[in-house]
């Protein structure tokens, strides 16, 4: 088991190198930091330009530039954004925290209810509950998140206020705090997270309920379920110890991967609701061609994905003894 983990960890380093290098190349080709710099500083002198280029490692061949960036990245020197010249790390940190809160909170809800619905649907196969929840999940997954986001915005920003003659929106549809607000306020924070959270939670719920249902159904029809029943053990035990224990294995593995994807996965929702997380950070940086902000963003998301990929593998091996020999 330990050997398995070690082997996967060994693969981690080269993978990270390759991924960051590819991202580096893609960004360097796609965005031109110099052009963005000039756009923000149209009256920069030649000396400024030269200095900017050397500080940011824009001289030399692509591999040289890559290692220049790598050295800086690893030592924590992430530079400043092109627009506004603000340090990259604090803003990125904030964005990460916001996204983490929203993502984990709404995913958590979605997973909990999704699993529950999936379990009940599988145990009561062909019942009304099953057909309704399955079709519901299917429909929910067919509606692209940005559409449900707009629709919710529509309802809550425009129509609720109109219908109920409120003087401010019932549920906030944009941002994280009302403009001009300072400090930390839990209630407000939650209020502003509700709408984007619901959009994410619905998607998560739909995915997990289908997944859990499918997994449990497959287990339900396994031969060892028949043996378990033949042993005359209680139905509760049959379900928990045999059915669920086995059915949750692929679901848990999936969840590990899914959680790793949260950090970069709310781009669309955040942008529509103006929620200042990683998604908003990315789009703003991209539209500005703000290369110093984009690169760390990509790398962090990639690291999260690769890391949680490893976690998923380890969890899987832990839960399913058949894998451990591999």
């Amino acid at each position: 088991m330990l050997r398995y983990i070690l082997r996967r960890l060994l693969w981690l380093i080269p993978t990270l190198f390759v991924v960051t290098f590819l991202a580096f190349c893609a960004l360097r080709i796609g965005t031109d930091p110099l052009a963005s710099f000039l756009k923000q500083n149209p009256r920069a002198s030649l000396a400024n330009i030269k200095q900017y280029k050397s500080v940011n490692g824009l001289n030399g061949t692509i591999p040289e530039q890559y290692f220049h960036w790598l050295r800086h990245f690893v030592t924590g020197n992430w530079g400043r954004s092109i627009k506004g010249s603000t340090p990259v790390w604090p803003d990125l940190k904030h964005a990460m925290a916001n996204t983490a809160v929203l993502g984990l909170f709404s995913s958590g809800l979605g997973i909990f209810f999704g699993l529950s619905i999936g379990i009940i649907a599988a145990l009561r196969q062909y019942s009304k509950f099953d057909s309704v929840s399955s079709t519901g999940a299917f429909v929910a997954l067919s509606i692209p998140p940005y559409i449900s986001a707009i629709v919710l915005q529509l309802i809550f920003a425009v129509y609720f206020t109109r219908w109920f003659n409120l003087d401010h929106p019932f549920l906030p549809t944009s941002g994280i705090y009302p403009p001009g607000h300072h400090g930390f306020d839990l209630i407000l924070r939650i209020k502003y997270m509700i709408l984007p959270g619901v959009v994410v939670a619905i998607q998560t719920l739909a995915v997990y309920s289908r997944y859990m249902r499918a997994s449990l159904l497959e287990v339900k029809n396994s031969e060892y379920m028949r043996t378990a029943r033949a042993k005359g053990i209680s139905e509760r035990r049959v379900i928990f110890r045999h059915a669920l224990r086995n059915a949750l294995i692929p679901v848990t593995t999936f969840a590990a991967l899914d959680i790793g994807a949260i950090i970069g996965g709310l781009v669309i929702t955040e942008n529509i609701f103006g929620y200042p997380g990683m998604g908003v950070f990315f789009l703003k940086a991209f539209n500005n061609g703000d290369y110093p902000q984009l690169m760390p963003w990509l790398v962090i998301v990639a690291i999260a994905l690769i890391l949680f990929n490893l976690v998923a593998d380890v969890v899987y091996a832990f839960l399913d003894p058949r894998i451990r020999l591999a």
Binding site: L27, F138, P144, A214, G264, F286, N309
Partner: protein, 328 residues
Amino acid sequence: MTETISPAGDVQLPDDAFDADQAEGLVTSVSPSRMAVRRFRRHKLAVVSLMVFLAIAMIVILAPITTRYGQIERLPAIGNKVGNSPPSWKAWFGTDDLNRDLYSRIIWGGRVSLLIGIAVAVVSSIVGTAVGAIAGLRGGFLDDALMRTTDLFLAFPTLVLLLVLRSMFSSLKWLKWLFGDLNSIRFIVVLLSILTWMGTARIVRGVVLSLKEREFVEASRALGASNSRIIVRHLIPNSIGPIIVSLTLAVVGAIVAESTLAFFGFGIDPVYATSWGGLLSDAKGAVIVGRWWLVVFPCAVFVLTILCVNFIGDGLRDAFDPKQDRSH
């Protein structure tokens, strides 16, 4: 179709094995494709969706007949307004701020969106099937590398990938022969295909891997069949099911991806054409000022089409894999 490939021929029975009054006891045999059709028809939602989708497709194909105005044609004044009229007899779904008929624009937009969806699906299916099959058959390092790369790509947020790749490819002048101009339909189709083929490749690889293990492949080999014969006569017929299903998924994926790009301002340049995504993007600010029709109708048609294609895909999945549980 995955379970129903028959062995090399039926066992020869002696002539007196059957006579007339045995008919009551015999099992009737049905060909695999007929069984697949039967199973599809049992999935009522899929059948309904198929009909709705065909209706939409018909309307869209016959655009010159079914539309009332051109794609960018501006209407004369309705009432005393020029632009932004709610639904009326003159403009069934209302008009936008340049007083263009929304109903017609939705149909013209459908042409673009569906074209993109189908083009991407076809291209990515061909490429994905080829790569996935080779990876599955050869195995080894090639297969490993493919899985790892696609793993990562598929896990990355889609919009991010789309945007980064879009800017990258548009900067590579030497690729212009393939991509065409930025924000043209061709560009979008190539870009989306590059992202979509990976999903198909994975599915096909999975199918090929599982088929490789099946006894009938071994049996064929034992009978002296060459690799290409095995591929053509056994692997392809058995993979058609999953390939078709992934094709429907690709159509939906492409339509949604294109509309997402358009929504954030990176879609098709209106100079070329307007897609459903473009309509939705135009309608971004419409809600606040109460022009609900600019959002509701495009959204409804968009979601309806996606739902239909998804249900059809679900029905096809049931049709081709009898072991698969009926999820309705």
